[in-house]
Structures are given as structure tokens and as C-alpha cells.
């Protein structure tokens, strides 16, 4: 379910279509226990109210995804090309400093690329979704690869409303950029890319 980003409803429909336990599917009790265990994972903790939903911690969500990528052997290094168009190998570990935030680390410092974007869509009551993708994998754009961080109503995309929508995430993002993330036991810098419809 987590690998293919299937909702419980979709899983149940598939299970029913294939004949339940007779079709080789696990019993409901086993699935419920597994769902509870997955929900308790720090990277999948969510906060919801009647209009919005969001993951509780951006850092936990990111590290959880990175752990899964490393464990499944799907983590890929992304090397930046230098002025001579040759890839610059990662030769240094990341060491957090007290310098100004978002100071771009050198190309030879080990890092993880993180794209963060806000997209508005939907008819009726328009919603915006905040999505993170990690290009350090083979297919970062596939549905099972990206991290849906938050969904929220977006009747207006004025600057003040954008601040209201994504402002709280900036508090999460700042420490991530300042102190990096752990990947396979070593600390890496976070190389942030802004993308999407709505500029923030």
C-alpha cells in the first residue's frame, strides 16, 4: 500500500475484487494492524481539521522517504555539473555552520535535492497542495514517489493568503536547510528548489 500510495479504500476495493483472503490477500485484522503501525510512523503523522490536512513534520516525512529509498536501493546521487560541464563528485561531508540561512553549499558537499512546490487546482472550491519531490531517485515524478505535504482551500492566491497557506511550513524548512538531513547514517545538506504554479 505504501509503495504504490494506495488509499485504504482503494486497497479494500482491490481486495474485494480479487476475492479477499481466497485471492491470497491478508485478513482484514492483519491489514488493520499494519495500517495502525504505518500511521504511527513519525514520517506519516498527519494533522487535519475540517478544511485542511498536512503532515506534522516535514523533516520526518523527508527522512522517512530517504530511509525507504536507501533501503530499497533506489537512492541515486545527483551531482551538479561544474563550469566545465563535468559532474562535481561529492568529496566533503556536510558540516552545519551558523552562517546565514540558505547560503548555498559548495558543489562538492554531499547533499540531497528537494523540490518544493505549491499547486492550485480543482473546480468548485479550489484547493492548493504543497508537494515535495526528491530528485535523488529514478522516477521522482511518479505518484508513489512524491510527498504530499499539505492540502488546503485556495479561494484566493493573493500574497497574504499565500503567506497564510505556506507560512507555517517555513518554520519547518528553515532548520532543515540549516542542519541538513541524515541519509544512511551521514549528514547531508539540503539543496532546495522552488517549483510549481504559485511562487512563494
Amino acid at each position: 500500500m505504501t509503495q504504490h500510495s494506495l488509499s485504504v479504500a482503494t486497497w479494500s476495493a482491490l481486495r474485494k475484487a480479487y476475492g479477499g483472503t481466497e485471492g491470497g490477500f491478508a485478513p482484514r485484522e492483519v491489514m488493520r494492524a499494519a495500517t495502525r503501525a504505518i500511521s504511527a510512523d513519525p514520517g506519516r503523522q498527519t494533522w487535519t481539521d475540517d478544511r485542511r490536512a498536512r503532515l506534522v513534520s516535514l523533516r520526518n516525512a523527508l527522512e522517512c522517504s530517504l530511509v525507504e529509498l536507501v533501503a530499497s536501493g533506489q537512492f541515486r546521487e545527483r551531482l551538479v555539473r561544474g563550469t566545465d560541464a563535468l559532474p562535481v563528485p561529492h568529496t566533503s561531508a556536510y558540516r552545519p555552520t551558523s552562517e546565514a540561512a540558505y547560503a548555498l553549499h559548495a558543489d562538492h558537499v554531499a547533499d540531497v535535492h528537494l523540490c518544493l512546490g505549491l499547486d492550485k487546482g480543482g473546480r468548485g472550491v479550489p484547493t492548493a497542495k504543497l508537494v515535495a519531490t526528491i530528485p535523488n531517485q529514478e522516477r521522482p515524478m511518479s505518484r508513489e514517489s512524491f510527498i504530499l505535504l499539505a492540502t488546503m482551500p485556495c479561494t484566493s492566491d493573493a500574497n497574504a493568503d499565500l503567506h497564510e497557506m505556506v507560512g507555517r511550513w517555513m518554520g519547518d524548512l528553515q532548520p532543515l536547510l540549516d542542519s541538513g538531513v541524515s541519509v544512511n547514517g551521514s549528514l547531508r545538506a539540503v539543496h532546495l528548489f522552488q517549483t510549481g504554479d504559485l511562487s512563494f
Partner: protein, 238 residues
């Protein structure tokens, strides 16, 4: 600061053949972002010069190195495909007048509908969907064929060449995989040639931000990070 001085400092987006001499830095963005923190420019006792505010009227939530901002590929694709279709009709109007332009629009519409099998959607600003833009680029020969008899042979040839080159560019830009350096360099040369060619044949055309982004920002990003598709907004649109 007058516009002449501003042009000296910042350069002109309309001058496609003169690329920006330097990339904007985060420090410049930060200075510009807080220019209007105390109120709109009109309300300030001493107005903030344009070279300082860089037309940023509202403070962004987050400021990052501008070179890390990924060109929005889907929007480049939508915008430039629509622009290219419109330019085809504008050339007819330039050659033969508005009535001829209206007359030429019909066969182009029919070609889009029957050959490319696309039609406008009620969203995306009334334009075409992303995948339809790819199909239009692939079937651009039909779009150009529809202009036979409405456009001089020389201009039609240039339209065909421009569409063929855009078709190559669109496939490289949207590819969600690493692009070899050689291909990225070819793309850089191609988009630059297409842009300068357009300005030469269509002198009234203004360089839109999307066109500017395609010519300068997208190839630079592609060369540095090896891919645009891996960093683009396709996941958001899924």
C-alpha cells in the same frame, strides 16, 4: 533612476541575443524583497528606485538563490505552444491584413482538431493541455500545411523550421531523466537560434517572460543540474 539607466544596470529582456551578464543572487533578491516593506512606493517620501525593488512589490515567504528556481516546464510548454500558434496567424495578418488572418485561422483550427486531434480546454486559460501541446508539436506539419496559400513560401518555410525546432526542444525539456551535456548544448543553441530568428522575422513580437525563461534560464539549469524534467512540476499536476 530613468529607464535608460535601469537598462544599463539590469539589461533588457527584449534583447534576446544579449544574455544576462550575471545571475541574480540571493542577496539582491533579499534587498529587493523588503523594498516595499514600509508601504507602496507611491506612499514613500523617497521612492525606491526600480533598480532596487526589481518590480518585486510583495515580500516572498521564502527567499532562495534565484538560480535554484526551476523553470515551470508545463507552463513553458503551454505558453510557448499557444504563442507559436498565434504567431502563425499574426504573420498572415502582417502580410495580408486582418481579414486574411481570420480566414487562415479556420484551416489551422480544423488541422488542430482533425490532424492533431486536440481542442481547447475550459481551464489552462482556454488553451491546450500539456499532452496536447506535445501532440501539436509532433503534428506541426499539419498546422503549417493549413497555412499554405495564406502565407508566402519563404515565411511558411521559416514557420516549419521553427515548429520543427520547438518539437525537438519540447521533448528534451520535459524528459524526466538525465540529459547528456552534448544534447543540452544543442538545446541551448537551438532555443537561442529560434528566438533570434523569430525576432528577425516578426519584429513586432515582444519577448515574454516564458520565452526569456526558455532561452536563458532553462538551458542554464539543464546544463548545471543535468535535467529539467526531474525537477519540474509534473508531480504536482499528477
Amino acid at each position: 533612476m530613468g529607464s535608460t539607466e535601469l537598462l544599463t544596470v539590469c539589461g533588457s529582456m527584449q534583447d534576446e541575443e544579449a544574455p544576462p551578464t550575471s545571475l541574480r543572487t540571493r542577496a539582491e533578491l533579499q534587498v529587493a524583497a523588503v523594498s516595499f516593506a514600509d508601504g507602496p512606493n507611491d506612499a514613500l517620501p523617497i521612492p525606491v528606485p526600480a533598480a532596487e525593488h526589481r518590480s518585486i512589490e510583495r515580500c516572498p515567504v521564502l527567499d532562495v538563490e534565484p538560480r535554484q528556481i526551476v523553470p515551470a516546464l508545463l507552463h513553458l510548454t503551454l505558453g510557448i505552444t499557444g504563442h507559436a500558434l498565434r504567431l502563425g496567424i499574426e504573420v498572415v495578418v502582417f502580410e495580408s491584413g486582418a481579414a486574411a488572418g481570420a480566414e487562415a485561422a479556420r484551416p489551422v483550427g480544423v488541422a488542430l482538431l482533425l490532424s492533431a486531434r486536440v481542442c481547447p480546454v475550459p481551464y489552462q486559460g482556454g488553451g491546450f493541455e500539456g499532452r496536447d501541446c506535445h501532440r501539436i508539436a509532433q503534428r506541426s506539419a499539419a498546422v503549417c500545411d493549413a497555412l499554405v496559400g495564406h502565407l508566402s513560401a519563404a515565411r511558411l518555410m521559416k514557420r516549419r523550421r521553427a515548429w520543427a525546432e520547438w518539437s525537438e526542444v519540447i521533448s528534451v525539456l520535459n524528459r524526466a531523466e538525465d540529459v547528456p551535456v552534448a544534447n543540452a548544448r544543442v538545446l541551448q543553441t537551438t532555443v537561442s537560434r529560434v528566438a533570434s530568428g523569430l525576432r528577425a522575422t516578426l519584429p513586432w513580437m515582444s519577448v515574454t517572460p516564458k520565452l526569456h525563461s526558455r532561452v536563458h534560464h532553462a538551458p542554464t539549469f539543464l546544463l548545471r543540474f543535468g535535467s529539467l524534467g526531474l525537477y519540474a512540476e509534473h508531480a504536482h499536476e499528477a
